[in-house]
């Protein structure tokens, strides 16, 4: 141990370390402690480890050396890869609602997939100590006596209400100005997506010509050529005399420059440019074809001014290209759908501050802002102000004056627009000892912004408190929500900030807006814990490996008859629990809707397909309310697994449902081309039409059953079902377009009960209500009385559990083309949960899953369209989307059940 000999260097080092540690832990003033962090609360061991070990070895992300040039407060954070949002229903992964959601926080109008993501963010919020902070509305217009006549966001909430009521024909535009937090568009894209989902999408909004920085995403710009000369308001030599709030001038100095935008879904493009003397032109081309040349030469021979040119885009346009000729200065392009909806413009300048936006030429700022006619202007700066304040490079007085001036400019330029000021978020810095401490300034700057917002008649959002207050940046860093620079949130952190801001906006809207349907219509599967116990038990046993079948029969109207919803649900359930066969197919005409399920129907000869819609009560019908009546000699074929390869396994059963009529001859039946043996004679001749179910053993997946009417009499076929002897789920889609619960009620009970019992369902899913909602004369009391009785009867016959689905968001268009809620929608929405409760069923609201109030309009306008133009039905994509939401909630409830009763068992039926 030479290195510890007296006078040795080692002894010096040892004593120095001991003395430093001792002083740091001793009860001395903090100024005398070499390493103050050791004295803070918590066990000493981890603190010592954190002190001497690099972050990469203590489980934290390795700290990159900070950039050498620290002169610039705001730099573009590196982009992260975003998780791929799976769209296939089969890929739907059930996630549990990790936190109980508090009513009223703003989640109510989100569609199911968005709600699922929002719940994940809520769980994250809870873990991070972030908070729901209400927007301080303040007052933009007061009466002489001081009473507030209009709150700070009133123009915005009014505009949204008009959109919701379908009385507005123009978009609701938001102009969001900010710094690098906005530049990455990770906070604002969350807000944009949510607003557009709730109120309709009006387009992509304002986009730069090309990326104004050498890095970052392309989401808010076109893809420009390399030669654009870019001048930004944040530059040392900023474009003083011509740029407005858009903040960046793109000049084609030498040679032609170009840029290209993806314009799918857009119908209107507007070019923002500088009209100046001796300026060149811009050729606009759509999908490579020239559509218009815009001259950018100004009227004045000496002055330049901000100018705009609007161009209509043909339907189906995919790309818009701009090519310059001569010296041209462009500022951006806005893209809109031309339909009412929300357009959320964002301009994020690296290093953006109030002072930077004040550098904009006042006339251009005004012209550009008025051109957009925004309903709301959001000012999201402050991070750089706080940084400079922390470095004593600015004063709070300067910060105050600059924000005051910016608010005044916005209010003066667009007096009819609401404005909202956001506080800066928390940030941190690293000290010499490697400690990460809060950076001073954010709170102080936020407080000043709050005061100036109030004084200027703008609303205020305290993002600092929402994030979790002082020190939250450090917690966010530890949890991987913050970048190592301790200034910029990562994508996940940005999403959380966007989520919180969006919900605060939604709460403001909800408070200011009377619901169009005054009925509580909560999302999610209600009452499953009590109503679906046996179903979940059986699914659990199946998943655990037991060889068993779980039958589900869904009865309903066109939503069920389309098969799109049930196909999507079946895909997910059979993938997880096994496939026990296609189930029931009603007799009928050929239908393209069955093609995706590889099922084909053919009718040969003279057939009449009758249904129970307008029939007298008591008729005998198949399970879907349909029967196919064939004339003598007519043939009907139902083909399962069409196009599937021949195989010998698995073994299975093919059931044929017919209506035997007295004195009629027996039909000729072929199964896979082979005649089946004649039926055994009945003990007594039939006195009345009777449902007959014949069962044939089969093997392999592909089968065809053919029924031929005898030459001397007709035949009535109700349907056929295929099941296999493999364990898994069988889901029957038993829908009749136009049907209501009354239709099912009025069908012959014995026939329905017998057929349904033969299907051996464990769960009955009833999806009626949408057609009831369309009946102005709906007898709600009759529905509330008869529907539970019907369910009780069928449950008794089948010993199955039940689940009710409510109506979709059914709308009707008046003579002026305006949409309104279907006349009985409110009545049905309030009745069906009661029916479910009374019948002991679970309840799930498709309308709530679509997004609640006026969701159908948004689904109609979605790209691709999810809602049908009739305001009643969904498109195939829409049904798949809705099925994804349903199955997600269903499986989430199943998972909860599994957690609650991991070993519980019930008797097999």
């Amino acid at each position: 141990m030479d290195f510890l000999k007296a006078r040795s260097t080692g002894l010096t080092l040892l004593l120095t370390v001991a003395l430093a540690l001792g002083l740091s832990l001793a009860p001395v003033p903090e100024s005398l402690r070499p390493v103050p962090s050791l004295q803070r609360s918590g066990p000493l061991g981890p603190k010592l480890v954190a002190l001497v070990l690099p972050a990469s070895l203590t489980g934290k992300k390795p700290a990159r050396p900070p950039p050498v040039d620290t002169a610039v407060a705001d730099v573009l954070p590196p982009e992260e890869e975003e998780p791929d949002a799976g769209t296939s229903v089969a890929d739907t992964v059930p996630t549990l609602p990790l936190v109980p959601t508090t009513p009223g926080i703003g989640l109510e109008e989100l569609s199911a997939p968005t709600l699922a993501r929002a719940l994940e963010l809520e769980a994250l919020r809870e873990r991070m100590g972030a908070q729901h902070v209400d927007i301080e509305l303040n007052c933009r217009k007061s009466a002489p006596d001081g009473t507030c006549l209009e709150d700070g966001l009133a123009p915005f909430t009014r505009a949204l209400a008009d959109l919701r009521a379908d009385t507005r024909r123009t978009p609701v535009r938001v102009v969001h100005l900010g710094d690098s937090l906005v530049a990455s568009d990770h906070i604002t894209d969350m807000v944009r997506d949510r607003l557009q989902e709730r109120f309709g999408a009006g387009g992509r909004g304002f986009l730069f010509i090309t990326r104004p920085a050498s890095a970052g995403r392309w989401t808010r710009s076109g893809r420009g050529s390399d030669g654009w000369e870019i001048a930004r308001l944040v530059d040392t030599k900023w474009p003083r005399d011509r740029v407005g709030w858009t903040g960046v001038a793109f000049t084609s100095g030498g040679g032609a420059q170009s840029t290209r935008y993806d314009v799918e879904g857009s119908r209107v493009a507007e070019l923002f440019f500088l009209a100046q003397p001796a300026s060149g032109s811009v050729q606009l081309s759509v999908d490579g074809k020239p559509v218009q040349r815009i001259q950018t030469r100004g009227f004045s021979k000496t002055k330049s001014e901000a100018a705009f040119a609007r161009v209509s885009l043909p339907e189906g346009a995919k790309t818009l290209s701009l090519t310059t000729s001569g010296k041209v200065e462009l500022h951006g392009v806005s893209l809109e759908t031309g339909t009412p909806g929300v357009v959320y413009d964002t301009v994020g300048l690296l290093g953006g501050m109030a002072e930077v936006y004040l550098r904009a030429q006042p006339a251009a700022f005004r012209a550009q802002l008025r051109q957009r006619k925004p309903s709301l202007v959001v000012l999201m700066v402050g991070g750089n102000e706080a940084f400079f304040y922390s470095r004593e490079r600015t004063t709070l007085d300067q910060v105050r004056q600059q924000m005051k001036d910016l608010i005044a400019r916005v209010r003066a330029n667009v007096p009819d627009s609401a404005c909202l000021v956001m506080s800066p978020i928390d940030a941190g810095v690293r000290t010499l000892s490697g400690d990460v401490i809060p950076r001073r300034g954010s709170k102080e700057v936020g407080d000043i912004f709050r005061e100036e917002a109030r004084a200027g008649g703008c609303a205020f959002y305290d993002a600092f408190t929402a994030m979790g207050g002082e020190g939250s940046a450090i917690r966010w860093l530890d949890e991987g929500l913050m970048l190592e620079d301790l200034v910029h949130p990562r994508v996940k952190g940005s999403d959380l900030l966007g989520h919180l801001f969006d919900l605060s906006l939604q709460r403001v809207f909800a408070k200011s807006h009377a619901p169009l349907v005054a009925v509580a219509d909560p999302p999610g599967l209600q009452g499953a814990d009590a109503a679906l116990v046996k179903t979940f038990e059986r699914l659990g046993r199946r998943e655990a490996g037991e060889s068993m079948r779980v039958g589900i029969a869904q009865l309903g109207a066109s939503h069920t008859a389309s098969h799109y919803f049930t196909d999507a649900v079946r895909e997910v359930l059979t993938k997880r629990f096994g496939d026990a066969g296609r189930g029931f197919i009603a007799a009928g005409k050929p239908s393209p809707r069955l093609e995706t399920a590889h099922v084909a129907r053919e009718l040969e000869g003279e057939w009449t397909v009758e249904d129970a819609l307008d029939a007298a009560p008591g008729g005998l019908w198949g399970l879907t309310g349909v029967r196919a009546v064939g004339a003598p000699g007519a043939k009907l074929r139902i083909q399962f697994c069409k196009g599937c390869p021949d195989a010998k396994t698995p073994a299975g059963r093919l059931d044929l449902y017919t209506l035997d009529v007295p004195n009629a001859g027996a039909p000729d039946i072929l199964v896979d081309g082979q005649p089946v043996p004649p039926d055994a004679p009945l003990p007594e001749p039939l006195a009345a039409p009777t449902v007959r179910i014949r069962s044939f053993p089969v093997s392999g997946p592909a089968h065809t059953v053919q029924v031929s009417a005898p030459a001397d009499s007709g035949v009535t076929v109700l349907g056929a079902a295929l099941e296999q002897d493999t364990p898994g789920v069988v889901l029957d889609a038993l829908g009749l377009p136009g049907a209501t619960a009354f239709t099912l009620r009025d069908m012959d009970a014995a026939a329905v009960d017998a057929q349904l019992t033969s299907r051996r369902p464990d769960l009955l899913v009833f999806w009626y209500g949408t057609n009831e909602a369309g009946k102005a004369d709906l007898e709600a009391e009759g529905l509330r009385r008869d529907y539970p009785a019907l369910i009780a009867r069928l449950r008794k016959a089948t010993n199955a559990e039940c689940l009710l689905l409510g109506p979709t968001d059914r709308l009707e268009q008046d003579a002026n083309g305006q949409w309104h809620e279907a006349p009985a929608l409110a009545s049905v929405l309030s009745t069906l949960p009661q029916v479910a409760k009374e019948a002991g069923c679970a309840y799930w609201s498709p309308r709530a899953a679509m997004g609640g109030e006026r969701a159908m309009l948004r689904w109609q306008h979605a790209e691709p369209a999810l809602g049908h133009a009739d305001g009643v039905h969904l498109t195939q994509e829409g049904y798949a989307r809705l099925a994804g939401a349903f199955v997600r909630d269903f499986l989430a409830a199943y998972e909860l059940h599994k957690k609650a009763q991991p070993t519980a068992r019930v008797e097999d039926n």
């Binding site: 050498v68 002169a71 690293r430």
Partner: protein, 471 residues
């Protein structure tokens, strides 16, 4: 893990204890130093270690090949291979993007398509230093100035030795690798001097350089239009001192830490701002680089033993390439070229009037002032993010905007301290170091802790990386 962080100091203490516990066993001390070096670098980022390993492997094979080769042609081919492979690494990781950008600017207007997406290659920390040191060894072996008998492990440790791996100094094989097989020793005096050197380095970096940087240089260079002309001039001077105290502070720590393990690194600075002409400046600034450029570039080009125009050409070539070595940006080439011109002018002046044997004080003062002014002015290009900003900064300096209020008393104080400690006789430093060495061990420990406390209170709140870390 920067060398002015607590983590680094803790790391050094642990390695120090382990090293001296096994220092009598060759493999023991080699293992300790190599593992420590790999760990130190891997904490920054581990991936480049694979690049370095590949580079050392190629070099080592070349060296062994040269040792066995009988033919001079083969030896030449091998040394050429080593130089090309090392420069290839540098070109690939450091200059490829500059080349792409340059090609885009030059060829795009002519309609010739060049890749527009950046390569996104990360520059391994310390690559420039690695490459120059690697070349120095293989060339020295070729020239017969270094032994080719070193093992691969020795070669690897020579390249990765942690006190110098990220920013030099560029150490010759004779100064480091040649001593690996000697049993090291560390007298109390040597150890004391080493600790004193480290302490001085920490003060230089954390107290003077960082305070000047964060309190004046960064704000002014970030937005010169917000500051008066005099403030810009003071900021340029402050940056000149910041750069010196930053890099010489780092070098002091590197030299001191190496000394703790019994190795003597060459000096990297010799009070450069006291130089009387630009040539002398380069004999005092970043000596390990300037001597490398002299030995491996300038002299192979012919040095001074060629015609006068060729000498000027050689000077210009060396300075432009030396400038570009600092960073893949043409502004560094411009910075180097300006120094090349200044050196050329200085050389021409000497040819014309001859070297004064004993210049008087006025002449010395004028020479120092002129040299310092050139250095300060060229530092603007070095510091600005691009040439446009540099131009704006120069313009602001001469605009004559009045005011000096933004230079705080703290900055004036640090500038005064910077000038004082730069100009103070070396004797004072030597005496202080001796005083420290003679202190009893407990007093030394108290002094070091007090120094740490002082640094804690005087330094900038935020840690700042070394400027040369980017090169």
């Amino acid at each position: 893990m920067l060398s002015h962080s607590l983590q680094y100091l803790a790391f050094v203490v642990v390695v120090f204890a382990t090293y001296w516990a096994v220092h009598r066993q060759y493999w023991g001390r080699m293992a300790v130093l190599l593992l420590a070096s790999v760990y130190f670098y891997a904490v920054f980022t581990p991936f480049p270690l694979l690049i370095f390993l590949a580079g050392v492997t190629v070099d080592h094979l070349c060296v062994k090949g040269m040792a066995r080769a009988q033919s001079q042609g083969v030896r030449k081919a091998l040394v050429t291979l080593s130089i090309v492979s090392n420069l290839g690494l540098l070109a690939g990781f450091k200059y490829l993007e500059l080349l792409r950008q340059t090609m885009v600017s030059l060829l795009a207007p002519l309609g010739i398509g060049v890749r527009t997406e950046p390569f996104h290659l990360l520059l391994p920390v310390g690559l420039s230093f690695f490459v120059f040191q690697a070349i120095s060894y293989t060339v020295d072996v070729y020239r017969g100035k270094a032994s080719a008998e070193h093992s691969f492990i020795e070669h690897l440790l020579y390249m990765l030795f942690f006190p110098r791996v990220v920013s030099g100094p560029i150490v010759r094989a004779s100064e480091l690798m040649a001593h690996f097989r000697e049993t090291p020793s560390l007298t109390p005096e040597q150890g004391g001097h080493a600790l004193f050197r480290i302490a001085v380095g920490l003060v230089k970096k954390l107290v003077i350089a960082d305070v000047l940087g964060s309190a004046l240089v960064d704000p002014v260079f970030g937005a010169p239009e917000k500051y008066a002309s005099a403030e810009c001039i003071v900021a340029a001077v402050a940056y000149t001192f910041e750069l010196y105290y930053d890099f010489s502070g780092y070098s002091d720590i590197a030299i001191g830490v190496a000394a703790l393990f019994g190795f003597k690194f060459p000096e990297n600075f010799n009070r450069p701002y006291l130089a009387k002409n630009i040539g002398e400046f380069w004999n005092r600034w970043h000596l390990s680089l300037s001597t490398w450029l002299r030995d491996y570039l300038y002299r192979p080009l012919g040095g001074n033993r060629v015609s006068k125009p060729r000498v000027l050409f050689n000077l210009m070539t060396v300075m432009v390439l030396g400038g570009l070595w600092h960073g893949a940006d043409w502004r560094f080439a411009v910075w180097g070229a300006v120094h090349g011109v200044a050196l050329g002018v200085s050389r021409c002046w000497e040819w014309w009037v001859g070297k004064p044997e004993s210049p008087g004080i006025p002449r010395v003062a004028l020479g120092m002032l002129t040299t310092f002014t050139i250095v300060v002015l060229t530092r603007v290009v070095f510091r600005a993010p691009d040439m446009t900003h540099a131009g704006e900064f120069y313009a602001r300096m001469i605009e004559g905007v009045p005011g000096i209020a933004n230079v705080s008393p703290l900055v004036w104080g640090m500038l005064a301290a910077a000038v004082f400690f730069h100009a103070v006789p070396l004797k004072l430093y030597t005496v202080s170091s001796e005083l420290f060495v003679r202190m009893p061990v407990p007093v030394r420990a108290v002094a070091l802790v007090l120094l740490g406390l002082g640094i804690r209170h005087l330094s900038s709140v935020e840690t700042r990386p070394y400027v040369y870390l980017q090169f």
